[in-house]
Amino acid sequence: MNIQRVFLLFSVILAGCSKPSDKIVVATAANVQYVMKEIQKEFARETGEEIQIVVGSSGKLTAQIREGAPFDVFVSADTKYPQEIYKNGGSEEEPRIYATGSLVLWAKDIPETELSTAILATEKVKKIAVPNPRNAPYGEAAIEVLKAQVLFEKTEKKLVYGESIAQTAQYISTGSVEAGFNALSIVLSPEMKDKGHYIIIDSTFHKPIQQAAILLKHSDASPKKESSTKFYHFLYSDKAKQIFKKYGYK
């Protein structure tokens, strides 16, 4: 294999690369990723149009949108980040709430009968995974719950922060921590079903986890404008509402 041949091979491979697709890109908060797959299927079935999903934590996606990432719709885990984008002129219309999330306490090896927030303060639990409360609404809610139930002082030293809901789920499902807080939509997903036990946290202990989406700005000439708008409206349709409900959103 001489050097010319290697170059030739490379140029053939590169020549075969396609142009960037003209599918619309939906930036999706980690807790919504599994639901979004189903919404993607349903949207394709109804309209024949494909969407592309980019998953990340809401904070990271917002930073990327601010710096001009080529996303068309942003489906956030909270209302703060989309509002931030709207204030900075990233959209022509205000963000709208599409669902309210539920917080769960989830453990790989603690049986459901023993699982409660009280167990977190005991010897049985050495580490507790929480999404980073600074930039993840479910993490913020988890800290509110611990404080409201006067468990925060006893558990603060045990807390481990995942950078997003997905990484926190990884810590819990691999058993790296004994227990942790997460989104109901994650434990109900096909990927995480049967990985341990969970209880739904009484939502009176934290502020409601309202999740908003926002249609990002497009120029009038943009070929994606029409399909992005169509998808954004589909998010608030009855069909989508049913799918969100199935994944534990209110």
Binding site: S57, G59, K60, T62, A63, R66, E84, K108, D109, K126, K127, A129, N132, R134, N135, L159, V160, Y161, G162, E163, Q170, Y171, T174, G175, S176, V177
Partner: protein, 224 residues
């Protein structure tokens, strides 16, 4: 500005570099002068962290350190400690992650010494160990310094592995590179910028020092 993440980064880099310096010496010597079969395999394994994505190292370490898997369970039983989400865990991860940065420069330094040095020492009845310690090592100071500093700087720049197994605990595993990432996520660019500037300046100064010291050492050697 919170200095804790920066302090933690430098503690991690210092401890990792010192441990690796001791560990890498025999490995580098063995690779430089040892005669054994399967040399290529050993070299490939040591060089892996150079080319593997940190996410791969991080992912496997997360599984290895987790009490749900045999290694993590065994460590927890024997030592009563959990490596995932702990500072010792980060040190072990960094040792793996920076291993080639310590081994390769030292090996190259040893190999570049004239073989007459070793032979003269053996002829004068010195043991292999004395020869290594008293003759060879003092003669490859620039290589050792380079290895140490590259290891230190590489560990300062560690991000992916720490993000995977650190759990972002302030004062324990929240190093500067992760702190920058958090500040950007929280849309707090001024704070991210402060951390980034400090890291940028410090790494530049370190490398500048090394290269100027090395150049001086080499000049001394050439003129003598």
């Amino acid at each position: 500005m919170d200095w804790q993440p920066l302090w933690l980064t430098f503690r991690l880099a210092s401890i990792t570099s010192v441990i690796l310096l001791v560990m890498a010496m025999p490995v580098a010597y063995w690779l430089a002068f040892g005669k054994f079969k399967g040399r290529g395999v050993v070299e490939a394994i040591i060089g892996m962290p150079l080319v593997l994505p940190p996410s791969v190292i991080g992912f496997y370490l997360l599984l290895a350190f987790s009490p749900s898997y045999w290694f993590g369970a065994w460590i927890e039983k024997v030592l009563g400690m959990r490596l995932v989400f702990s500072f010792p865990g980060l040190v072990i991860a960094s040792i793996l992650y920076s291993l080639p940065f310590m081994v390769y420069p030292i090996r190259a330094g040893l190999q570049s010494l004239p073989s007459s040095l070793r032979e003269a020492s053996y002829t004068l009845g010195k043991s292999e160990w004395t020869t290594f310690y008293k003759v060879l090592l003092p003669n490859c100071k620039p290589a050792i310094l380079t290895a140490f500093v590259l290891t230190f700087a590489h560990t300062v720049g560690e991000f992916g592995v720490v993000l995977m197994i650190g759990g972002n605990i302030p004062g324990v595993t929240k190093v500067a590179s992760v702190a920058i990432y958090n500040e950007v996520e929280a849309l707090n660019y001024p704070a991210a910028n402060q951390y980034a500037m400090v890291l940028f300046a410090i790494t530049f100064v370190i490398l500048l020092l090394v290269y100027s010291i090395n150049n001086r050492l080499l000049r001394v050697r050439q003129s003598s």
